[in-house]
């Protein structure tokens, strides 16, 4: 909103600037290249600006911009750099907290760990580059986010990535999946930062528009935190790192458009990463910070020199003057426009301390990395770009970085919501009410072989006698195996074994072993837990719930390792924001997330919005991805998912929900019917908080041996994973569930007590706020007591055994399967053999 007073001020400035206007070189103002070439399209249109934005620029400058200036505005005012569509919504996020040292607005958020150390974190999307060139797109995504952490003066200590692809049996999706994974590996492994966690989902919605969100976490001593500010006038401005070429020009603009059929042809926009250079940049910058030579550092990401200079100057209220003749170039004949917009990788803008120029150059020389003094900090608030004596561009830094006109979006409720909600998962699955199904199973078991397949409670199934033919397995055992081999649930060792997840000697819970990665912080006795989570299906079916669940599940994952959730960062991946339906989804996702962050006490420290994730009109699910940081106060209390001791009690913290509603949008529904529909599970954030506090307190009192949250695939899949991840000799469980009506605890709310319950839902429903824990039988009363004081249901549901998962409900066996059989399904989906098969030829292809 521009008040008239703002306008006057700006007019005044513009007039003053008018005096220097004649000194800025005429590169064809107001005409643009298009018209020079005889086309009728105006230059601003060609660069993706709107007419209103162009008029705003003319007003700010008090004259027509030249081609270079217009290019600078076009990238800085692109959605990717300016958040012009999302800004007003993001204000909903809580950003304050006792541990938050730096919130949104800098290169990364900073959270206090203890008196001396702080954690730095940020995540960013690289969706569009990945769609065009998966290896380099992912590699440069890693490089960029690592430099954001570096810009805070922090040593990068962990990378996580959240990936979305189409079904892996589709050749194109398989190609993208393999390319992205090797790109992350190729870059992350080389720079010596462990890739410790993340997630991979597969769904048709991402087939033509994959998502690649990368998160980086760093550690910094609190008194060494660097700020990306050009705060002292006269300070030298250095460009450190690689030389500048034509790569990636207009990458930011590219990220702010839908992908079309000709996206393959936009390959020149994709940059090539040089992880070796990045490794040198990391060591160089950290040494410069440590030696105290630095005032500010900024990564050169999207919009390269333009954004880094404009942002550092705007934050400090200063200006910067640079000389393009000083910029080391990789190609000859580059124009000012190209140099200012180049997105060549592995470059950092370093604002040095006056008088330290020689020392800075010496550090760079020793590391063998390029270092050019390209300009100085000024007091006029202008970003002045010269080439020798000629002024090529002269623009207020704040105008570029902060004055983008906000786009007030239209919101419209998508019609699909009512349609999807009207579909009942129970009838789609043909599920029968629990009591009648159990009765049926019982009689079938008796008539079949004399040996009761549905033994009464108390006669454990013998794993050795277990039939190995799948058709002989009880029906829900087969369903379980099917879920375990579904791409989204299946073991991802094939992925994370390609990442060096151990370098730096901190990884205390290895990938796959726990609900979150756990890294100890040397010398503190503490550890940090990190996870990235987001279920696009939920957000599609119910954006507000989906947003809240993304935060809650991330927090629950962190809690399941014994960590206290403290802060989040996020990537919000959405379709075209110019469509009202997208903004309706967006506003609700943000609202859900904000509410969950508020209630769970995890403020937002920064993040990234990626719009235009649709190709040829096919949008992705609205996909909020939450990067969560948790703190484990004593690293010895960390937990992983797998069972650790035979004879331990298996307990469920949270409700044992058998309602049909928890099957909406579930993986089980998708696996059985191929449909993503229904109303997804709802979350009660108050219950969620109680469940998390119970688990955390129990972990901190040393009661728990393992913990694993219930997510995709429900309780059955959670239990199966606990078995498969278990230590030798404790890789099984006997679970006895009571149907909601027979259970004395009345896990469902009183008013719902008459609601019908379903075996499918008890086993595979994705009701929220549930964690499966194990503990010594003697400690069960203590856990129940914690549950009582925190107000969360705690139910003992079974025991850890040596092998095999056996689940009965009210005494009737519903699942009985050996751990080896489960592993075959779970680990076989993405093992070497499966991945070397041609897409579509796997035993699991549908």
């Amino acid at each position: 909103m521009n008040t008239s007073r703002d306008r006057d001020v700006r007019n005044g400035r513009a007039q003053k600037r008018g005096q220097v206007q004649d000194r800025v070189r005429d590169q064809g103002q107001g005409r643009g290249r298009g018209q020079e070439q005889g086309q009728s399209r105006p230059s601003w249109w060609e660069l993706g600006l709107t007419e209103a934005e162009y008029r705003e620029i003319v007003e700010i400058l008090g004259r027509e911009p030249n081609w270079t200036e217009l290019g600078m505005f076009s990238v800085m005012w692109s959605e990717h750099c300016s958040y012009k569509h999302s800004r007003p919504y993001l204000k909903l996020f809580p950003t304050q907290g006792s541990r938050i040292l730096i919130g949104p607005g800098e290169n990364a958020g900073v959270i206090r760990l203890d008196e001396r150390w702080a954690v730095v974190m940020k995540c960013e999307s690289h969706n569009h580059p990945v769609a065009v060139e998966p290896y380099q797109g992912a590699a440069t995504g890693v490089g960029g986010i690592v430099r954001d952490i570096l810009a805070m003066g922090a040593r990068p200590v962990a990378i996580l990535d959240s990936l979305r692809f189409g079904p892996p049996d589709d050749p194109r999706s398989r190609f993208l999946f393999q390319g992205v994974v090797s790109g992350i590996a190729g870059y992350g492994n080389c720079i010596g930062v462990p890739t410790v966690g993340g997630e991979v989902y597969f769904d048709e919605a991402y087939a033509s528009n994959p998502l690649c969100n990368v998160m980086c976490v760093g550690l910094v001593e609190i008194d060494r935190i660097a700020r990306a500010r050009a705060s002292e006038v006269g300070s030298p401005v250095f460009l450190v790192g690689a030389s500048t070429g034509r790569d990636g020009i207009h990458g930011a603009t590219f990220a702010s458009q839908e992908l079309g059929e000709d996206s393959e042809a936009s390959r020149p926009n994709v940059q090539v990463g040089d992880p070796f250079m990045e490794k040198l940049a990391i060591e160089t910058c950290l040494e410069l910070v440590e030696r105290g030579y630095v005032i500010g550092i900024q990564d050169m990401g999207a919009a390269g020199i333009t954004s880094s200079c404009a942002e550092t100057a705007a934050r400090a209220g200063t200006g910067i003057e640079i000389d393009l003749d000083k910029v080391p170039l990789r190609e000859s004949g580059m124009t000012p426009y190209e140099i200012m917009l180049s997105e060549s990788q592995e470059r950092m803008l370093v604002i040095g301390k006056s008088g330290r120029e020689n020392e800075i150059a010496e550090v760079c020389r020793r590391w063998g990395i390029g270092c050019a003094l390209i300009g100085r900090v000024t007091d006029d608030g202008m970003l002045t770009v010269k080439r020798g004596e000629i002024i090529e561009a002269r623009v207020p830094a704040k105008a570029l970085a902060e004055q983008v006109p906000v786009v007030l979006s239209r919101e419209s409720r998508p019609s699909y919501i009512d349609e999807e909600w009207s579909r009942d998962p129970v009838s789609l699955l043909g599920a029968k009410p629990g009591p009648s199904l159990l009765a049926e199973l019982a009689s079938a078991g008796k008539t079949r072989s004399g040996k009761a397949r549905c033994e009464p409670e108390g006669e454990p199934g013998e794993p050795e006698k277990e039939p190995e033919e799948e058709k002989d397995l009880p029906r829900f055992s087969r369903d379980l195996l099917k879920c375990l081999s579904s791409p989204t649930i299946a073991d991802k060792a094939w992925v994370y074994s390609q990442y060096d997840h151990m370098v730096q000697n901190n990884t205390a819970v290895l990938p796959g072993a726990g609900d979150a990665a756990v890294l100890r912080v040397k010398g503190t006795g503490k550890a940090i837990a990190l996870t990235m989570d987001g279920n696009g299906r939920y957000a599609y079916l119910d954006p507000e719930m989906g947003g809240a669940i993304a935060v809650a599940e991330a927090a629950r994952n962190v809690v399941s390792t014994g960590a206290e959730p403290v802060a989040i960062t996020n990537c919000l991946n959405f379709p075209n924001p110019e469509k009202g339906e997208t903004m309706w989804q967006f506003s609700r996702v943000v609202r859900g997330m904000a509410l969950a962050c508020e209630i769970l006490g995890t403020p937002v420290t920064g993040g990234n919005v990626s719009f235009y994730n649709e190709t040829l009109g096919k949008p992705v699910y609205p996909t909020p991805v939450v990067g969560m940081l948790g703190i484990i106060h004593d690293v010895k209390q960390r937990l992983s998912s797998g069972f650790v001791r035979e004879g331990d009690i298996v307990a469920l913290i949270g409700p044992l929900d058998g309602r049909g509603a928890s099957l909406g949008g579930s993986e089980y529904l998708k696996v059985k019917t191929g449909l993503v529909t229904g109303k997804p599970p709802q979350i009660d954030l108050d219950v969620e908080k109680r469940v998390q506090r119970t688990c955390l307190r129990a972990a901190q009192s040393g009661l728990l041996h393992s913990a694993h949250d219930c997510s995709e695939g429900g309780l059955a899949v959670t239990l199966a994973e606990c078995c498969m991840l278990g230590r030798p000799g404790s890789r099984g469980a006997e679970i006895s569930l009571r149907s909601p009506k027979s259970a004395p605890e009345r896990p469902v709310k009183e008013e719902d007590a008459d609601e019908p319950w379903f075996v499918e839902s008890l086993l595979f429903g994705e009701a929220q706020s549930r964690i499966v824990v194990t503990l010594h039988p003697d400690d069960m009363p203590a856990l129940s007591e914690i549950g009582r004081t925190e107000g969360a249901p705690v139910t003992a549901i079974g025991r850890v055994t040596a092998d095999g998962l056996w689940v009965n409900i009210d005494g009737f066996t519903v699942i009985m399967v050996s751990t080896a059989k489960m592993e075959e399904a779970w680990r076989g989906r993405f093992d070497d053999k499966a991945m070397s098969r041609k897409p579509g030829q796997g035993p699991y292809s549908d």
Partner: protein, 236 residues
């Protein structure tokens, strides 16, 4: 005794080795910049893992020409202990300290995981605290760990007991299925004829405390210390 850890541009396990030796073993240790040519005062030189010079040409191919490598050669010729880990092993191969070369892993992808190793030779400074044929666990993390040498070289190597570790299963079984990268004869570590230069693909510095999933790597470093103090005790 004093350890020295060489830092090449692109080394990324240098700090982990430093941590293992100083913080876990409590030994004296210093970094050695790749341009250094004087190694006096060091008793054991470690070439750490990483991607020296990006490993763009071949793994270790450029690092071997660093000024420090000439000094390391003299150091080794004088009987000094040299341990090359992962990229360090690749550099030792390129520099001709040890026979053979590394090919890409047979699966054509980077592999990071704990593997089992069988100790084939414990009569050297690096493994003297292990039992012969003991099975231990250490992580690997490499793309080019597929050890290769022609059959004559392999025969000679085997004949003199030059193989120190082999990839095995948890019971010590050696088979193609227990070979993560396609190495000839499941070879994971090789020692020179004089017995003072060891190259190994697994990372001992990554398993020096229970928190990291194992402590077998610590025993390798302790072997070096124990051998060294023993030698000094006996020799002087």
């Amino acid at each position: 005794m004093k350890f020295g850890i060489v830092v090449f541009p692109g080394s990324n396990c240098d700090q982990d080795c430093y941590y293992a030796i100083r913080d876990i073993l409590g030994c004296d240790v210093d970094y050695i910049w790749h341009t250094v040519t004087d190694l006096r005062g060091f008793d054991c030189i470690i070439l750490p893992g990483g991607f020296s010079y990006g490993d763009y040409l071949r793994t270790g191919a450029i690092a071997r020409f660093s000024p420090v490598m000439k000094a390391v050669k003299d150091f080794a010729d004088g009987g000094g202990l040299v341990l090359g880990i992962c990229n360090g092993f690749q550099i030792l191969l390129e520099a001709g300290f040890l026979p053979g070369a590394m090919l890409r892993n047979k699966g054509l992808r980077f592999l990071c995981k704990y593997v089992h190793l069988r100790v084939e030779n414990n009569k050297n400074p690096f493994t003297c605290l292990f039992e012969e044929h003991e099975v231990i666990r250490m992580p690997i993390a490499h793309f080019d760990g597929n050890y290769y040498a022609d059959s004559r070289t392999i025969e000679a190597l085997e004949a003199r007991g030059g193989v120190v570790f082999r990839y095995s299963d948890e019971k010590g079984g050696i088979a193609p299925e227990t070979n993560p990268n396609g190495s000839v004869g499941n070879i994971a570590a090789v020692i020179n004829e004089a017995g003072n230069v060891l190259g190994m693909m697994p990372h001992p510095e990554r398993c020096v405390e229970e928190l990291l999933g194992g402590e077998d790597g610590r025993r390798l470093f302790e072997s070096i210390v124990s051998w060294f103090s023993g030698r000094r005790g006996v020799g002087s």
